[in-house]
């Protein structure tokens, strides 16, 4: 048979039956197989591969993929097939089977969308840039989110997922940018300094009112943008000239002119709207204008104002307490308690955002801390002023000292219902059947091992006393050794031996050498190493003890060596509960607390390795070092409660180690597993690895391996 001969209908059917598990699922593939048999071999193989991959996610997904692709073979190219299948599988991961099937069934929709995406700008792709852009524009750290239409609630800017009215991606990106700048301008130039929500409520014609207000305010903000960001304003006009009827009629032009001055505020807009409410129709909204959402915005602002008032008063209280401290007995108060703080404008300033007021306490200027400054400028933005009642330190009833404690969220809290992924690190996971990553599949959280202050470390030290002495000596010998280089052409000191010799040489008339100096050459070990320790349930007993002892010895060795090192434990229970336990961060000293954490290492749940490797890769990359090493210590196969069994877990771990390599980190795996060695070469092959069959040997071995690795 020729290698290029296409597969027969029977061959195809056989394969489909396997991929789709027909024995149990009873799908009928005869018809599809027949259609496929007419295709050239490469195309057949390509499609079959994708059926296999989608079916590995869910049989029904694979079947529907097969059923739909035969209908559109002529309209779709390989790249689009891939995008379509991947999109369906990603959707399955996030939203489940039915939405994923919807993507498969609605292939024409996908095709159209992908055409649009070709020329359009996609929020997902541009959001990183847009976010930097808006943060650069200053003011509050606005967030970006997706919504049907563009608007802002003064905390978040909402943008449509796709913007495509212009001819190419670049132009459409500009439209996004203008939308962002316009929303930013609403906050920056005080659209919400008036209470739009009550104005709308009180209006006789609320809909007309809001439409007209939006139109007039847009003209005012355009003037603001023209002054503040002339370059952006030029692009805005360009886009308008393509998409909008951008010439105003006489009446509108007159209104626009009225709003041109720098001193115009949203109140002027309001006056105009009230004046013309019955005589003026709003112009067709501009392409970038989006919506105004007075009700949503009002509640966001109200919530923020309340919160910031509370925060400010608490900070003032702290300042006041600090100020009064040490003034015992208390001097008689000249001021009433609620008038001690005052704010004075120090100078007219071009940009109203800079905080240019001077805060005084008992008539003495006092510098507010950075967070208070930010609060005050945020309040200033919401209210236009800082009302006197805000400038009163919190009374005993309102004072909340916990406010100043670092608000570290308890990682355990998030597991209280309802579940959410906030604050977790999300990592992709490799699905070997799909030959692709599952996006943001694992939610990992950092916790700290609960320290146990007992005698474990001391006992280990005396148990291994001789060994530790030996290790210290070996490791000390590896320290940065400064080598004295003799007979150099220059250096800090004269090399007396060389000099005497040279003088003797000159006696016989030969020329004097210039190698007469000694130089101290530094040899720097610029190494950072991270240890990743298995804390899964299977380490219970012996292995856990050996691990902890190994860590004690390791720390002793590394302390005498002076390399930077960190130790983390890992464990997990299904993909949404991946846990990294800090035992010693790079910045931590090897102190009593760290020792107690080593003692406190205890077996937890399962062995999901991929996310831990990825997380620690990131940590290592944050450290500046010439050589970075990741050493995993585990007791065997990757395994978890969900599908992380067998090949899946092995392949993901392998993949994560490949990523480690690619990032320029040296991976090394130590495993304490005497039986199942067969999969190790495959899984760890990308790294270097060692198998330790005698648990007893672990403590010595770990330090020893490190020594060999780094000399």
């Amino acid at each position: 048979m020729n290698a290029k001969t296409p597969l027969s209908s029977e061959d195809i059917l056989k394969r489909l039956d396997i991929y789709l598990d027909v024995e149990f699922t009873f799908y009928h593939n005869e018809q599809h197989a027949k259609i496929l048999s007419a295709l050239p071999l490469t195309q057949q193989q390509y499609i079959l591969a994708w059926v296999q991959r989608t079916a590995s996610t869910h049989h029904e997904l694979g079947y529907q993929f097969m059923a739909h692709i035969v209908d559109i073979l002529n309209e779709i190219d390989a790249k689009t097939i891939e995008a379509w299948a991947l999109h369906a599988m990603d959707t399955y991961d996030v939203k489940g089977l039915y939405p994923a099937l919807e993507i498969i069934r609605n292939v024409s929709n996908f095709l159209q969308l992908s055409h649009e995406k070709e020329a359009g700008a996609v929020l997902e792709d541009e959001s990183a840039i847009l976010l930097h852009f808006v943060h650069g524009l200053s003011g509050r750290k606005l967030k970006l989110e997706e919504a049907e239409q563009a608007y802002t609630d003064t905390e978040t800017i909402f943008l449509p997922a796709l913007v495509a009215p212009l001819k190419n991606k670049k132009e459409n990106f500009k439209l996004y940018k203008v939308m962002v700048a316009y929303c930013w301008a609403q906050s920056r130039f005080g659209t919400y300094l008036i209470n739009l929500y009550t104005e709308v409520e009180n209006s006789e014609y609320p809909e007309k009112f809001i439409a007209l207000f939006h139109a007039v305010e847009t003209l005012r903000l355009e003037h603001c943008l023209a002054r503040e960001l002339p370059g952006l304003y030029r692009q805005l006009c360009e886009i308008k000239s393509q998409l909008d009827n951008s010439t105003l009629d006489l009446q509108w032009q007159a209104i626009s002119d009225q709003l041109q001055s720098e001193i115009c505020t949203a109140n002027d807009t309001l006056d105009i709207v009230n004046q013309y409410l019955n005589q003026l129709e709003p112009f067709t909204p501009y392409c970038y204008q989006g919506l105004l959402q007075p009700e949503i915005t009002a509640s966001v602002i109200q919530a923020r104002i309340n919160e910031e008032k509370k925060q400010l008063k608490n900070i003032l209280r702290k300042m006041q307490d600090d100020f009064d401290e040490g003034k015992e007995p208390k001097p008689p108060q000249k001021m009433p308690a609620n008038e001690r703080f005052d704010l004075k404008e120090i100078k007219e300033h071009s940009s109203q955002q800079d905080f240019t007021m001077e805060l005084t306490l008992d008539d003495q200027p006092i510098a507010p801390p950075e967070n208070a400054k930010n609060l005050m400028s945020s309040i200033l933005q919401d209210l236009g002023e800082i009302p006197d009642e805000y400038l009163v330190a919190a009374g005993d009833g309102e004072y909340d000292p916990s406010f100043f404690e670092e608000k570290e969220e308890d990682p355990d809290d998030v597991w209280k219902v309802p579940y959410h992924e906030e604050g977790a690190f999300l990592y992709n996971e490799w699905d070997f059947k799909r030959q692709n990553y599952r996006k943001n599949w694992c939610a990992a959280r950092e916790k700290v091992v609960k320290p146990i202050y007992d005698n474990f470390v001391n006992n280990t030290m005396s148990k291994h006393g001789k060994l530790i002495k030996h290790l210290r000596k070996t490791f000390e010998a590896m320290r940065d050794d400064n080598k004295l280089l003799k007979r150099q052409t220059n250096g800090d000191e004269i090399d007396i031996d060389a000099y005497v010799e040279a003088l003797a040489d000159t006696e016989d008339g030969s020329e004097m050498t210039d190698r007469l100096y000694m130089q101290m050459q530094r040899h720097e070990r610029n190494i950072a190493v991270c240890f990743m320790v298995d804390m899964s349930g299977s380490t219970k007993g012996w292995i856990n003890d050996a691990e902890r002892e190994a860590l004690v010895l390791l720390c002793e060795s590394l302390e005498s060596l002076g390399d930077r090192y960190a130790i983390y434990g890992f464990s997990g229970m299904a993909r949404k509960r991946c846990e990294i336990y800090t035992i010693k961060a790079f910045d931590d000293n090897y102190d009593e607390e760290v020792k107690a954490r080593i003692s406190g290492i205890e077996p937890k749940d399962y062995t999901r390795m991929g996310f831990a490797i990825r997380h620690l890769n990131k940590k290592l990359l944050d450290i500046e070092a010439k050589t970075r090493i990741l050493i995993t210590i585990s007791d065997g196969k990757p395994d978890d409660y969900d599908s992380y069994r067998g090949e899946y877990g092995i392949e993901d771990t392998r993949r994560a180690l490949v990523e480690t390599r690619r990032a320029g980190i040296h991976p090394y795996c130590i495993t304490i597993d005497s039986e199942a060695k067969d999969y190790l070469p495959h899984m760890y092959g990308v790294a270097a690895y060692t198998v330790i069959d005698e648990i007893r040997e672990l403590p010595l071995k770990v330090s020893d391996i490190y020594r060999r690795l780094t000399t």
Partner: protein, 270 residues
């Protein structure tokens, strides 16, 4: 024209350097100088520390000896060493010793970059002893009243490993530098480069946008120095956006998203 080589301790700054005062740094420096206290200049890169030192040297009419510290700088590099010349050994003073002898202002730029053992040689000079022990020579140099030690330090981007030790920092009077406020900075750039004030103001506006991004994507915002660079390019006829891209954006980041964003901010302003 004949080029004249001068020994560093004889090098006086003749022309008044342009330095725009920001607060009362000049008075404080002078007071510290009179009281023979060493001075630490703290602040981000490119905010005028070196320029300030040149200005003060001119104002106090003292020679200025600047040493840019690097991680191979040894104590001998500062203090001095023996050399062999024509069969004899001779001692050669390092810049610090020369400054002490001549009663000059010695400015050690980016002191934390130097090797740790180097730092301690300045300790006896920086407290009320005001002496420089020269171990290899077997001498102790006493500083004259004119001598002044000043060091600079950027607390922003140094790693923990390179922090200034307490025993060092607690010997110095600290002057904090930061980018001047918008109007002042505009003046500085306009005076330094002869560009239009309105263009300079736009540059400063753009710079402040990049400074807003410090900590959320950028390690550091655009320094006054970068603005001066961009302004100089513009002065020679380069278009503003091009000048900013090359002189500022590229200097700030290699991250491609961030580069695009910074360039977009720039083209919004001009």
């Amino acid at each position: 024209m004949q080029v004249q080589a001068k020994k560093t301790e004889e090098y006086f700054i003749k022309n008044k350097p342009f330095y725009q005062r920001v607060a009362d740094e000049i008075e404080i420096f002078e007071a510290a100088y009179q009281q023979k206290l060493p001075i630490l200049l703290k602040g981000p890169t490119g905010c005028g520390k070196t320029r300030f030192m040149e200005y003060m040297a001119w104002r106090l009419k003292k020679p200025l000896i600047t040493v840019s510290c690097h991680d191979d700088l040894t104590a001998s590099d500062l203090v001095g060493r023996y050399l062999i010349q024509g069969g004899n050994t001779i001692w050669v003073d390092g810049p610090l010793a020369r400054a002490v002898r001549a009663g000059a202002i010695c400015y050690l730029d980016e002191i934390v970059e130097a090797r740790k053992d180097t730092m301690v040689v300045i300790h006896p000079l920086a407290d009320d002893r005001r002496v420089l022990p020269m171990e290899k020579l077997g001498e102790i140099l006493e500083a004259s009243d004119d001598f002044c030690l000043s060091i600079s330090y950027n607390p922003g981007y140094q790693s923990v490993l390179k922090d200034l030790k307490q025993s060092t920092r607690q010997r110095f009077v600290a002057l904090e530098f930061d980018y001047p406020d918008a109007d002042l900075e505009t003046d500085i750039i306009a005076k330094e480069t002869d560009i239009d004030k309105s263009v300079a103001a736009n540059l400063v506006k753009f710079a402040n946008m990049t400074r807003n991004l410090k900590g959320s994507g950028l390690e550091e915002g655009a320094s006054t120095r970068l603005l001066v660079h961009a302004a100089k390019l513009m002065h020679s006829g380069i278009a503003p956006t091009t000048a900013c891209h090359t002189a500022i954006s590229q200097a700030l980041t290699d991250d491609s998203d961030m580069l695009v964003a910074v360039n977009e901010l720039c083209s919004s302003v001009f």
